[in-house]
């Protein structure tokens, strides 16, 4: 198929090196609909993150009173009314699946809502930008200072900016460790240098990462480090709403005056006046008019900027707006715009979310607070007793997930005439061994099951251990096998 080419005809790549130095971004402040949405979401996200550890939740004696607590030493996870044990870690899997599906659904409906409004990188970078503008001035002042020499005044402002950044970063790292211990106690311990070293190490690490990622890396995290822009490209479709420059309306770009002249002749002129405001306000420093691109986090700030300009030049707003490819084509063809939030993709995502939610809710509601696991002795697997009977040994592990001690009785269903002996059980009730399970703990016991030897019996018979809470009537069971030697 390919025709051979002589070496002289080969086209060499004249683009230069693959690496381009970073162009510093000085996003300009902007106000408008999307900016205020962003401010509000930032307040909510940061508020939840910084304050959640201090929310109290009464759980009774001996249990922590913190609403959200990851208790590593005791291997418990508390989330409001939910207390999870390590073996229930699959709930987190469900949560992750749910998070992924929610991300997909968001993406199918409104593009990179996550990137533009909710991603921690966006939220903290936005906060850091706000600090920067407060201290060093807006875009113009910053660019001027950046181009000019370093003066004492400028150095002072920079120092102040970094001090505030570090404070925010430090507070961010500090809030993180509060999720792993009783928050008020830890705050006091941290202040008096009584807290464990690991707390300081984590605060230092998260202070550094927040400071570096939000202060220095900024949009580079989105463009170079984050996998999501690559993944979302595969998840989006022509129906998804994306921040779009409506080139059908904006092109050809021309000045206000020239557009006025063209229009007075009765011809069509583009609405874009090439004022570059959309570029100036962009936190990732891209030109939205180049079309959909990796660097666009779809935060909508260019929409606010463009709308302000359009209002000023008395043109209709919405030259840049949430739009999709289909509508661009329809407008060009002179058809009505349509939006279709309900379509196969979104319905599938929404139903999957519903299913996962339902499964998790069911699992959470039906989860037992009394549980038993059984492990058969491997060596020896069965023992012959002096009267010819066969005995199998098992290790039973009882889980009492309630916040109080309780008495349980152990019964066994297995081979005919099976007798149960629990080592360490109260000898007062030899026929139905009973033990006390400590609150919120596991208890391990060795039990022996003895059954008369029956030559005709099968080599292996199922045996079920049933555990009954004497007070509450809760029942749990575990099944293993009774084997002959």
């Amino acid at each position: 198929m390919n025709k051979p080419v002589s070496p002289d005809e080969l086209i060499t790549d004249e683009d230069g090196p693959l690496y381009a130095p970073r162009k510093k971004v000085f996003p300009q402040s902007v106000s408008g609909r999307f900016r205020s949405i962003k401010w509000r979401l930032m307040a909510v996200c940061l508020g939840v993150y910084y304050l959640l550890p201090f929310v109290r939740w009464h759980r009774g004696l001996g249990a922590p009173d913190q609403a959200v607590l990851i208790d590593f030493p005791n291997r418990r996870f508390y989330f409001f009314f939910i207390e999870l044990w390590p073996q229930e870690i699959y709930y987190f899997t469900g949560l992750l699946v749910l998070a992924a599906l929610a991300l997909f659904l968001m993406n199918a409906l409104g593009g990179r809502i996550w990137c533009g409004y909710l991603c921690p990188q966006t939220v903290w970078t936005d906060l850091f930008y706000a600090v920067e503008r407060l201290v060093e001035g807006d875009r113009r002042a910053q660019m001027k200072a950046d181009a000019g020499p370093m003066t004492a005044k400028r150095a002072g402002r920079r120092a102040l900016k970094h001090a505030i950044w570090l404070m925010i970063a430090w507070w961010t790292g500090g809030a993180w460790v509060l999720y792993f211990a009783d928050a008020p106690t830890l705050v006091r311990d941290l202040a008096t240098f009584q807290a464990p070293a690991i707390a300081y190490v984590w605060i230092a690490m998260l202070t550094a990462s927040t400071y570096l990622l939000a202060g220095y890396m900024r949009e580079q995290v989105c463009v170079y480090m984050c996998p999501w822009p690559r993944i979302q490209a595969a998840l989006t479709d022509e129906w998804a709403l994306n921040v779009t420059y409506k080139y059908d309306r904006g092109e050809p770009r021309c000045s206000v005056k020239k557009a006025f002249d063209i229009r007075s002749l009765g011809e069509k002129a583009g609405d874009c006046i090439d004022c570059n405001q959309c570029v100036a306000v962009c936190p990732t420093g891209i030109d939205i008019r180049d079309g959909a691109q990796l660097g666009c986090i779809q935060c909508g700030l260019c929409i606010d900027a463009c709308d302000a300009v359009m209002t000023k030049v008395s043109r209709e707003t919405g030259l840049i707006g949430y739009d999709n490819d289909i509508n661009v084509q329809r407008r060009v063809a002179g058809k009505q715009e349509i939006f279709k939030p309900v379509r196969a993709r979104t319905v599938v995502y929404a139903s999957l979310i519903t299913v996962v939610c339902a499964v998790m809710l069911y699992a959470l509601m039906s989860r037992t607070l009394l549980d038993v696991n059984v492990l058969h002795d491997r060596n020896p697997i069965a023992v012959r007793l002096s009267d010819g009977a066969i005995r199998n040994g098992y290790t039973l592990r009882f889980l009492n997930k309630r916040g109080f001690d309780r008495v349980i009785a152990i019964d066994v269903d297995g081979p005919a005439d099976a007798k149960l002996h629990v080592i360490g059980a109260d000898s007062v009730t030899p026929d139905r061994p009973m033990i006390v399970l400590g609150r919120d703990t596991t208890t391990e016991l060795r039990v022996l099951v003895t059954a008369p030897f029956d030559e005709k019996a099968e080599k292996s018979v199922p045996v079920t251990f049933r555990v009954t809470d004497i007070g509450l009537g809760e029942i749990a069971s575990a099944t293993d096998h009774f084997v002959l030697p």
């Binding site: 060596n379 002096s386 033990i435």
Partner: protein
């Protein structure tokens, strides 16, 4: 590096002058950060030689600035561990055997300690799960030569059987054949009689009356009138289904002819008292004793 000054037409960079099949290699030096990192690792290595033991010598090694030794740090860690255990083991030492079995926490602690000690000291003879083998008793069943209560088990662990210790269990299965007490055919008769005690089949020409007479004359002093054994003497119960050396006629003839005298060593000097206690609890919990 290269003194070659040829410039590549496309990239505008100098080449190394190396050429393979018309393809020339561009002179692309290592990035400076990489080279500096490399030098830094060399300096680091020199520092390492000085600070840590590094060079093997003929009869030793360079010990480094701080005499660092992994062996010494292991010893420290072990000492710390022993200290940590000390408190728990003290609780175990103060509790009585019966109390330990009643307290789930103490029982778990004793079993955990007992399991490791058992694996180190007892498993070679009794097997890792205590299932025993020919001549070495199964500790999971309910047949105990010297008694299977907690106290009796502890006694046996402490002083052993025929171990030479002053307080050891003594008891001898006599060599009836070797010492000329019984003749070959008499031994076969007794062996068959013993098999009949636990309901095993006997040889076709076996005479129960003769067997009973020989058994009464020679065996009842230790094994009892009905062959139920005697834990005081370590004499096994001959009426049950558990046979330490085997229940077939050939094995029984061998046992009666030459006797048996298995040895269990005394552990009293080798293991500390708390460990022995934990071991007794562990062994008792294997099969619940008797």
């Amino acid at each position: 590096m290269s003194e070659h000054n040829e410039i590549d037409r496309v990239s505008g960079r100098s080449t190394t002058g190396h050429e393979w099949d018309g393809i020339k290699e561009l002179n692309t030096p290592l990035p400076r950060w990489w080279v500096l990192t490399f030098y830094a690792t060399i300096i680091w290595a020199i520092g390492y030689w000085v600070v840590y033991p590094a060079w093997p010598l003929v009869s030793g090694y360079t010990t480094g600035l701080f005499q660092y030794s992994t062996r010494a740090s292991v010893a420290t860690d072990l000492a710390d561990l022993e200290k940590l255990r000390g408190e728990k083991m003290a609780v175990l030492g103060n509790a009585s055997l019966a109390d330990i079995e009643k307290d789930p926490a103490l029982l778990a602690l004793a079993r955990a300690r007992g399991r490791t000690v058992f694996a180190d000291n007892c498993a070679p003879c009794h097997g890792s799960g205590g299932a025993g083998t020919k001549g070495y008793p199964n500790l999971n069943d309910d047949d105990w030569l010297w008694g299977g209560s907690l106290d009796q088990i502890m006694q046996t662990i402490q002083f052993g059987a025929r171990s030479g210790h002053a307080k050891t269990h003594e008891g001898q299965m006599l060599a009836f054949g070797r010492d000329g007490v019984l003749k070959k055919d008499e031994i076969v008769t007794v062996a068959n009689y013993v098999r009949s005690l636990s309901g095993l089949s006997t040889a076709p020409k076996f005479d129960p009356a003769a067997g009973k007479k020989l058994f009464t004359e020679n065996c009842t002093s230790c094994h009892g009138d009905n062959g139920k054994g005697n834990p005081e003497l370590g004499a096994p119960n001959l009426t049950d289904q558990i046979w330490l050396y085997g229940s077939d006629e050939e094995t029984l003839v061998e046992t009666i002819t030459n006797g048996r005298a298995g040895v269990m060593p005394a552990w009293v000097g080798r293991l500390d008292p708390v460990t022995v206690k934990a071991l007794a609890v562990y062994v008792h919990s294997l099969g619940g004793g008797k």
